[in-house]
C-alpha cells in the first residue's frame, strides 16, 4: 500500500470538500511556534510519521500557547516513532469537540467488496469498536456504484445516531466515499471525526492508503506517497533499487528488501519461487542478508545493477542466484549481468561462493557464462530446495561451520 502522511491526506481531502482543522507541517520548533501564534489559541502538535496509534506513543501533544507548541515540537522532532524518524510535525488548531465519531472505508480484497464502517463513538481504536465497545454499523457497496446520502443516513442511524447530525454525517460520508473511489484508496479512516458544539463536522485525523498499482492515475500525488517496508524508512540500498527501476521502467522488475545481519546475498525470482527459496535457505541453516527479486525478462543492465546492490551490503560473503524454470527471463542475460557485477566487485569464486540454479530460456549459453566465471551452475536435475542446500554447503566449505553472526530476518 502507498501511504500518505497526515498533512498530505488532509490537504487532499480538504480539496474534495472535507473539513479539516487549519494547520501547517513544519520542520523546526521555531516554525511550530510561529504557526501556533498565527493560528491563535491552543494547538495540537503531531509527529508526521506513517504509523498508527501515535496518541498512545506520545507523538500527539496538546499545547496551550505558542511557547508550549514550540516545546512540544522540539520534544518530537528528531525522535523516532514506530521505526520512523520525526522530521516534521503538524501544528493545527485544537478544535473544541462536542462529540467524536468513527468512520472508515476499506477495500476488502478477501470479500471482494468496499466496506463503509461507522461508529457512534469515535476516538477509540477500531479493535475496541469491534469488541462491541460502542455502537457500530457497516455496509458494503456494489463496485462502481455511487453512494447516495440516503444509504449513509440509514448507516449512521443503525449506529445509533439521531437528530440534526444525521444528514450532515451522511453528506460527509458520501463525499468521503467519492474521494475513496477517485483516489483509488484501499483505506480511508477518519478517527476521530469531530462534531463541534454548533454541529459542524471536522476530520481531526485522516489515515489514507492508496493502491500502488493505481498511482499512474494520480500523477499529482507523486512525491507524497510513501512506499516500502511498513516498519522503517527505506534504506539507501532500497532507494538505489527504486532508482534502478525508475531508470528502466518497462523492462523487467527488480525488488530489494534489506534484512538485518546475514551473509548470503539473495538474488532470486519469480514471485513464488523466491518465497520457496528463501524458506529453503533458512531451513538449510543459511543466513540470507536481503530479499531481492529479479524477473519479467530484465535487461543485462538491470540485472547487473541489482546484483551490485545485493553484493554491496556489508557482511555479504556469498551469492545465491535462483529462479523457477523461466518462461521468458533469459538465463544468458541473467548470467552476464550477475558475472559483470561479481567481476566489478572483485568477488569471484572460489573465494566468494556463488551458486546459480538457472534453467529455461537460453539455458546452455547462460550455463557456459556462469561456469566460465567459476559459478556453481545447477539445472533442472536439482530442485529449488536442493539448490538452497548446495548454497549453504558452499558457505560452510568456504568459511567453516557455525561461523558468522546468527542473525535472522
Amino acid at each position: 500500500m502507498a501511504r500518505l502522511l497526515e498533512h498530505d491526506a488532509k490537504e487532499i481531502l480538504a480539496a474534495r470538500g472535507i473539513p479539516v482543522p487549519r494547520g501547517q507541517a513544519v520542520p523546526a520548533a521555531e516554525a511550530a511556534r510561529q504557526v501556533a501564534s498565527a493560528l491563535g489559541g491552543p494547538v495540537v502538535v503531531k509527529a508526521l510519521v506513517p504509523v498508527g496509534k501515535r496518541g498512545k506513543s506520545g507523538a500527539v501533544r496538546l499545547a496551550a500557547d505558542p511557547e508550549a507548541a514550540g516545546d512540544a515540537a522540539a520534544a518530537l522532532l528528531g525522535r523516532e516513532v514506530g521505526g520512523f524518524p520525526v522530521d516534521r510535525v503538524l501544528v493545527e488548531e485544537a478544535v473544541p469537540v462536542a462529540q467524536e465519531r468513527y468512520l472508515a472505508i476499506t477495500l476488502d480484497a478477501d470479500d471482494r467488496t468496499v466496506r463503509v464502517l461507522v461508529g457512534r463513538e469515535g476516538g477509540v481504536d477500531v479493535e475496541e469498536l469491534a469488541r462491541g465497545e460502542g455502537a457500530i454499523a457497516w455496509l458494503e457497496l456494489v463496485p462502481g456504484e455511487e453512494m447516495m446520502p440516503f444509504r449513509a443516513r440509514a448507516l449512521w442511524q443503525s449506529a445509533g445516531v439521531r437528530g440534526p447530525a444525521l444528514p450532515r454525517l451522511a453528506q460527509l460520508t458520501a463525499a468521503l466515499y467519492r474521494a475513496f473511489v477517485e483516489l483509488d484508496a484501499e483505506l480511508l479512516e477518519i478517527n476521530p471525526l469531530a462534531e463541534t458544539a454548533s454541529g459542524e463536522l471536522v476530520a481531526l485525523d485522516a489515515v489514507v492508503a492508496l493502491d500502488e498499482a493505481a498511482l499512474f492515475r494520480h500523477p499529482e500525488l507523486a512525491g507524497r506517497v510513501l512506499i516500502g517496508p511498513a516498519w522503517r524508512p527505506p534504506t539507501a540500498l532500497e532507494q538505489q533499487v527504486d532508482a534502478i527501476n525508475a531508470a528502466e521502467p518497462y523492462r523487467g522488475s527488480a525488488r530489494y528488501l534489506e534484512l538485518e545481519g546475514g551473509d548470503i546475498g539473495f538474488l532470486c525470482g519469480g514471485g513464488g519461487a523466491s518465497l520457496l527459496l528463501f524458506d529453503a535457505l533458512l531451513r538449510a541453516g543459511g543466513r540470507p542478508a536481503n530479499y531481492a527479486e529479479i524477473g519479467g525478462n530484465p535487461t543485462e543492465t538491470k540485472v547487473a545493477a541489482l546484483a551490485r546492490v545485493v553484493l554491496s551490503k556489508p557482511g555479504v560473503r556469498g551469492l545465491f542466484v535462483a529462479h523457477n524454470l523461466t518462461n521468458n527471463t533469459q538465463v544468458d542475460v541473467l548470467a552476464r549481468g550477475v558475472v559483470q557485477a561479481l567481476r566489478e566487485a572483485g568477488r569471484l569464486p572460489p573465494d566468494f561462493p556463488v551458486v546459480a540454479r538457472e534453467t529455461g530460456v537460453n539455458e546452455a549459453e547462460g550455463r557456459a557464462i556462469f561456469e566460465a566465471a567459476g559459478v556453481r551452475w545447477l539445472g533442472e536435475e536439482v530442485t529449488l530446495s536442493e539448490a538452497a542446500r548446495v548454497m549453504v554447503q558452499a558457505m560452510r566449505e568456504r568459511y567453516g561451520e557455525g561461523d558468522g553472526d546468527s542473525a535472522r530476518p
Partner: protein
Amino acid sequence: MAILLDRDTRVLVQGITGREARMVTAHMLAYGTAVVCGVTPGRGGEQVAGVPVYDTVAEAVAAHRPAAALVSVPPAAVLDAALEAIDAGLRLLLIATERVPKHDALRLLYAARTAGVHVIGPNSVGLINPGQRVKLGAIGGDRPERAFVPGRIGVISRSGGMTAELGLMLRRHGFGVSTAVSVGGDALIGTPPADLLPLFQADPETDAVVLFGEPGTRFEEDVAEALADGRFSKPLLALVAGRFAESLPEGTAFGHAAAIIRGGSGRPSAKLAALRQAGAWVADDLDELFRFLDALASSGVHHETGQR
C-alpha cells in the same frame, strides 16, 4: 476431457498487436490452441501470425464466435477490455496483465460474476492442458512440453513461475499434468484455488491436485474448507511457501501483491494447519512433495489415501 478449455475452444486475443501478445499468440497457435481472432482498437484489418485483427470485440465475435478471450492489454485498459468481452458474450476470460488497479479489478470481477463469466487472473501466466495440446496465455513459453507432459495431476498455483517449475518437477518424477492453472498473483482474482476444485473433482482425467500457496488472502483456508466438507475428495498435495515472512514485521508484500500478512491474517503456518486438519498432504518443501507423490503412485492414487 479437460477443465475450462479444450482443443475446440475458439480463442480471441485482446491487445493482440502488443509485443508480448504477438509472441504469445504465435506460441499458442504452434502448440495447438484455436486462436481465431484478435482485437486492438484502431488496428482492424491487420493480421498477427495469420490471425485477423478487429477494432471491436463485437465485430470479432460476429465473424468468429470465440468462447474464450486472452486479455493482454496495459493495466489502465484492462477494465474496459474485460467489460467489452463480457458484453460481447465471451464465457471465459484469462487476464494476463499484472498490476491491475484494485478498484478496476473489483468492478470487472463483479460484472463477470453477475454475467456468469469465468475469469482467470488478473496476473495469470495462463492455463494449459497438455493432453489436448492447448494452452491459454504465455504458460510454458515456446516449449510447453519441457514442463508440461500429459498426465493425471492437476496443478493450481498462485505463482506463474511455480506453475512451470511444478510441471517440470512432475515430469522429472514420472508424472504428467491433466490441467495446470496459474490463478494469478493478486488478491482480487476471478478464480481462487477453491473454485477450481469442483472442476478437478468432476474431471475423470485428474487423480490428484497439487496446490502451490503463498502468504496472504484466505485462499488456502478456503481450500481446506472445501476438503473438510467433502466438495473435493481426491488427494490434495499442498506446499505453502513464505513461512519466513512470519518472522518479519507485518505489512510487506513478498513476490506477489497478494503475498502479504496483515492484521495477523494470511500466515502460512495457519494455512498449513488448516490444510493438514482437513486431510491434505502438506509438504514442507519440494522434496517432501515428491515423496508424497511417489507414495501416492505406489498406492495407486486412491481417493481414501492421504491422511497426514
